[in-house]
Amino acid sequence: MVDPKSDMHMTIRVKFFASLREQIINPNTEVDGSQAKTIGDVWKLATDVPMPPHVLCSVNLEHQEPDAPVNDGDEVAFFPPITGG
């Protein structure tokens, strides 16, 4: 008998904002959480292009650096420098 839980795998949700959303064509908006240890890993799984310089990152609505760890169920976002106010 198969344990239903063994067939479950968590995903990391990925968001892109502003100019990045327009530049990254058809990104994966969900990646396999077991394949990503850091935000940088999430970028590689979600896109086919290198991460541009000056990209800002967040995990679960908190600013983070690209080498910050990620976990199953996280929401990771990538965005260009902030220009509010």
């Binding site: 502003a18 609505l61 965005f79 260009p80 420098p81 902030i82 509010g84």
Partner: protein, 145 residues
């Protein structure tokens, strides 16, 4: 310590007055406010409109954190941040920051802090529409100091 994201135009003076009316009468001696308004020129080009994008959830969280940090640094009674999102026209207010405190030093300094901090921490992005109909993202903020 409210934070408001407004998808429609707002009257900053009226919003400041409305919030101030909720504070205990006579409880503060200084009020400092800043209003940021959309200009019709940027980097030498005529600008006829702007779309202001934000990261719903994170933006509000960062603005609340900015107010929290200001309260740690200065003895302020209350603060208000109002920020537009969506389609904006030249002349319309983009942002309002207000600080109420007992004395002017904390009010001035904390109000300045709110503006500078939100510009570097709260995820908003501006996309301009130029007079010739083209669009461009604003790539950086002007220095505050």
């Amino acid at each position: 310590m409210p934070v408001l994201i407004k998808p429609e135009p707002f009257d900053p003076i009226a919003m400041q007055a409305a919030h101030e009316a909720t504070l205990p009468t006579g409880s503060f001696g200084a009020t400092a406010s800043f209003i940021g308004t959309m200009r019709n020129v940027n980097e030498g080009d005529d600008v006829i409109g702007m779309m202001l994008e934000h990261y719903e959830g994170m933006t509000e969280k960062e603005l609340e954190a900015v107010i929290h940090d200001a309260k740690q640094k200065w003895p302020i009674d209350d603060a208000l941040i109002v920020h537009r999102v969506g389609a904006i026209e030249p002349g319309q207010p983009i942002v309002l920051t207000v600080v109420w405190s007992a004395h002017r030093a904390a009010a001035f300094d904390a109000c300045r802090f709110l503006m500078e901090a939100l510009k570097s921490r709260a995820p908003f992005w501006k996309k301009e529409t130029l007079k010739d109909g083209s669009h461009r993202w604003v790539e950086r903020n002007t220095p505050g100091y």
